[in-house]
């Protein structure tokens, strides 16, 4: 929401903000900013058929930062008095032990973000707890109705309403309201001693109505139940190198882990990424074009502006297999002399800005999804995944399937138990031989962790075929 937010929302005047920035105005400081944040998080959760828990948390504070060369000085405070701003500014300034700068700090001019990707009235973001409780009750009933073997339904609905304002030493004062919500469902199915789990969820920068639209919450409930029931009949997963077909949507976590993190500018400036010297080189087959796009309306990973006040953008990471560029924040763009992409993000006022992904996905190709399956004689078809992880430096990444099937003679056959897939980032996409024509974005459940900071992200993928990847099952 891009209503004009005044700093007075945080109990601070523009003069006080300018005064703090002026204390940071010493000769060696290249850039400084103040990040004001006010966040209200609410959650309701249910288990055993009753909505037992409701929680609400409120936090407000300011993060004060100065950068000098490669150095960052950072301090934060949950008090927003003039004195606390001064103390924070003096701490942040410590990294640049230099005299007062010559040129004055400009008075911040209020600007609006250039777009409004999540228009929503405040009233619509604030929904009575009773309505959320009713939503969860319907989900519980639907999942149990799906199959009597569903013995427990764990469901939670979380919302966050965040108001941020960034005042920078280059004279900008820009603010945004960033709503975010997510519905998550886990079902446990039991049949004799066999117990299995299935999960599904979704969300975004959307209003509460989104979850009821066309019975979306009930679809989610049935999906979680379906996965749990399916896993009751899953056989052991195979072990070894084999072709793997990924279905569209959330399996795009492959891109996030295999290449996304490796293309974050900080690792490349420090030359600690397996992708450090590969710009302009082939890192994927020519059917692969991959972007990071923070400008998609209402998506979980989207933002009107990043946490440095830069408008988000759509950045081409890989174009027809060739590595084109990195995603950047101000510090790394400046030090590397490369374009600013609007990917400077932070979890909250207590954390520093890092280059982070927004929505990362592969563009659609030309293959018929059916043909992709038919082309595999013996392999794995992976539909849904749990988490993933990557070692940036050597490029090794993993991601774990939660719903997968064997492919035998071009046909999808038995469901298999979850297995971890492991590969090497700069190599794996060179083994992508087919890309489906139907790109799907995920439902809005992704949270990415880096340096202990969590931020909301999205991923997307058309169905793809990877000619070979190591599958970590138990059956030889």
């Amino acid at each position: 929401m891009s209503d004009l937010i005044q700093l007075s929302k945080f109990g601070v005047t523009e003069f006080e903000a300018q005064h703090a920035l002026d204390r940071l105005n010493v000769r060696d400081v290249d850039y400084a900013d103040l990040y004001f944040e006010s966040r209200t998080s609410e959650s309701v959760s249910m288990e055993e058929g009753i909505v037992k828990r409701a929680a609400k948390s409120i936090s407000q504070g300011v993060g004060v930062r100065a950068t000098a060369g490669e150095k960052t000085g950072f301090a934060y405070s949950d008090e927003l008095t003039k004195k606390d701003l001064e103390i924070a500014a003096d701490t942040a300034r410590y990294i640049a032990n230099s005299p007062k700068g010559d040129s004055p700090v400009p008075v911040p001019t209020q600007q609006r973000p250039t777009r409004d990707l999540y228009p929503m009235e405040q009233a619509k973001a604030e929904v009575a707890t009773a309505e959320r409780v009713a939503l969860l009750n319907e989900i519980d009933a639907e999942a149990r109705r799906y199959d009597p073997r569903i013995k427990n339904v764990l469901a939670s609905f979380n919302t966050e309403y965040k108001v941020v304002a960034v005042a920078t030493s280059d004279g900008a004062l820009v603010a945004d309201i960033q709503p975010l919500s997510r519905l998550q469902i886990t079902c446990i199915a039991e049949e004799g001693d066999n117990r299995q789990v299935g999960s599904f969820g979704g969300g975004g920068r959307v209003a509460f109505e989104f979850y009821r639209e066309g019975g979306r919450h009930l679809d989610y409930a049935r999906e979680a139940a379906r996965e749990a029931i399916l896993n009751l009949s899953a056989v052991d997963a195979p072990a070894g190198v084999m072709p793997v077909v990924l279905s569209g949507g959330w399996p795009g976590i492959l891109l996030h882990e295999a290449i996304g993190h490796g293309l974050e500018a900080d690792f490349n400036r420090k030359k600690t990424s397996a992708f450090s010297s590969l710009v302009g080189k082939r890192v994927a087959s020519d059917v692969c074009t991959i972007v990071d796009d923070g400008t998609l309306p209402s998506r979980r990973g989207s933002l009107n502006m990043d946490d440095e006040g830069t408008p988000t953008s759509c950045t081409t990471l890989i174009e027809k297999g060739i590595l084109r560029g990195y995603i950047t924040d101000k510090l790394n763009a400046r030090l590397m002399g490369i374009p600013l992409t609007g990917n400077g993000r932070r979890e909250n006022y207590q954390s520093v800005v890092l280059p982070r992904m927004t929505n990362t996905f592969m563009l659609a190709g030309e293959s018929d999804p059916q043909d992709i399956i038919r082309s595999v004689k013996k392999g794995l078809y992976a539909v849904s995944f749990g988490g993933g992880q990557v070692d940036i430096t050597n490029g090794k990444f993993v991601f774990s399937a939660s719903e997968a099937y064997l492919i035998e003679d071009g046909q999808i056959t038995k469901p298999v138990k979850g297995a971890t897939l492991i590969g090497n980032g700069p190599e794996i996409l060179t083994k992508v031989s087919m890309v489906g024509h139907d790109l799907k974005l995920d439902n809005g459940i992704g949270t990415c962790g880096k340096d202990g900071q969590s931020v909301a992200v999205g991923v997307g993928l058309p169905p793809i075929k990877i000619d070979e990847i190591t599958v970590g099952g138990t059956r030889s």
Binding site: R53, S77, A130, A237, T272, N394, I422
Partner: protein
């Protein structure tokens, strides 16, 4: 230089006073029971990279969490704003929220008679205040030692020295008030080694955390260990797909123990989401396995005098010679399972209690890591695990791994881009040797472990 600080003693009393006011306010809003957590802390974090300061972070923070019960309905809230108006609003909001959820017959505070009566000093706090220059010096020396250890160490993700201290006050409507202070000092070093022929890079890290500054190992020893760990990974290759014995080093064995810890936690159990459901009193692991959770270990990284509900912490026997003796429980999950709390309520400020370990460790055996590796003819020594391929409901286990191939009892060459897979139920029973090398480096700690056989997937 380190110097001693004078911490005003009024702080704990001040928070106790604040807590009692908020509790009284909750009562007038209709709360039948309530508890409150107040936590504050100070942190100074210094990151150095390739010999220069990279990032300096300094902060003070505080937070208050409130849980109210209106009969059998409850809600939890938190705020960092301690002003009178903000807290009044918080109390009102919490009571409104509690009114909106469903009655949960087992909810409520523990009985008044269960509250901790003693609050021993567990030596968790060190009043040493390090200045910025001292911390920068430690981080620089740690990183420099890594570079000096081996010329193949060519780059670095940096070295970080953190110091923090804080206070926790817990009070409830039974009249319980508890408080303790704790501190921590840590150094981590993350060097990058490069293979001069292939240009391939490997990163590894070493770290140490202590509650007392004086107990930290030298910056140099931490940097050297980090360098050795990064360099030894160079030249890693895939292994072939086969079933072999697997030795877990103490770090990765600790992650297996963390999986066991998750499986015996009361919340997973009553939700029927644990592979150790209904196994109390049964053999769940090899008879070599005895596991304790000890909340009162002096100076322990997981120690605390009382738990997140105000119950005294204690030493619980979780597994004794392979037999599951106790779950980890708080009041709520205990009631759901018909058992008393084990004093393992863990509490983050804004949330209702959950269950957490204190100092959860596996009792060491007699064999050294060298002897254990020596017992393997053809197998795998694991030093790193990545990913989240663990299904806590079924125990199915499949994770990315790196380490060394063992040939005739010796570490032959580094391996990477492989997975190990099995089922935790079986893996716990297949533990064939428990090492003697238990060192308390975190809350969950294990010595080296050998599992007789697992599926390794590679080429």
């Amino acid at each position: 230089m380190a110097k001693k600080s004078l911490v005003p003693v009024e702080t704990a009393n001040g928070y106790a006073q604040l807590a009692s006011e908020v509790l009284a306010r909750a009562k007038t809003c209709g709360a039948t029971e309530a508890d409150i957590v107040v936590a504050d802390g100070e942190t100074l974090s210094v990151q150095v990279r390739v010999g220069a300061v990279d990032r300096l972070t300094k902060a003070r923070e505080k937070r208050l969490g409130l849980r109210v019960f209106i009969g059998k309905r409850s809600a939890t809230t938190s705020t960092s704003d301690f002003s009178h108006e903000s807290l009044e609003r918080l109390v009102a909001d919490t009571c409104t929220l509690a009114g909106a959820v469903v009655e949960d017959t087992v909810s409520g505070l523990p009985d008044a008679a269960q509250m901790a009566t003693d609050q021993p000093n567990l030596d968790l706090y060190d009043d040493t205040v390090l200045d910025t220059e001292t911390q920068i010096d430690w981080a620089k020396r740690g990183e420099a030692a890594a570079f000096a250890t081996d010329k193949r160490v060519t780059n670095s993700e940096g070295a970080e020295f953190d110091s923090s201290s804080g206070r926790v006050v817990l009070a409830n409507s039974h009249g319980f008030v508890g408080s303790y202070k704790s501190s921590s000092f840590s150094l981590s070093v993350s060097p990058i080694a490069t293979d001069s022929e292939t240009g391939a890079m490997q990163r590894d890290a070493w770290y140490e955390v202590q509650r007392k500054f004086g107990r930290l190992a030298s910056a140099e020893s931490i940097g050297q260990e980090a360098a050795k760990r990064a360099v030894r990974r160079l030249g890693g290759r895939k292994a072939s797909t086969k079933r072999v014995p697997v030795v877990f080093d103490p770090e990765t064995a600790g992650s297996l123990l963390a999986n066991l810890c998750g499986a015996v936690s009361g919340y997973g159990l009553y939700k029927r989401a644990s592979f150790l459901l209904d196994k109390l009193g049964q053999t769940i692991a090899s008879e070599l396995i005895t596991v304790y959770d000890d909340g009162r270990m002096v100076g322990g990284l997981g120690s605390r005098p009382f738990d997140g509900e105000g119950l005294a912490t204690r030493k619980n026997t979780i597994v004794e010679r392979g037999v599951l003796k106790s779950y980890l429980l708080d009041t709520y999950s205990g009631k759901k399972l018909g058992l008393p709390s084990t004093g393992n309520a863990s509490r983050s400020v804004g949330e209702s209690p959950s269950v957490g370990p204190t100092n959860f460790y596996l009792v060491p055996g007699t064999k050294s890591a060298q002897e254990i590796i020596g017992s393997v003819k053809d197998g795998l020594y694991i030093t790193e695990l990545i990913g989240f391929g663990i299904n806590m409901v079924t125990g199915d286990y499949s994770r990315g791994a790196a380490g060394f191939w063992i040939e005739n009892g010796e570490l032959a060459y580094p391996v990477e881009e492989i997975t190990i897979a099995g089922n935790l139920k079986q893996m716990l029973k297949d533990i064939e040797i428990v090492g003697s090398d238990l060192v308390f480096r975190g809350r969950i700690t294990s010595p080296t472990l050998k599992i007789s056989e697992m599926m390794v997937a590679g080429n």
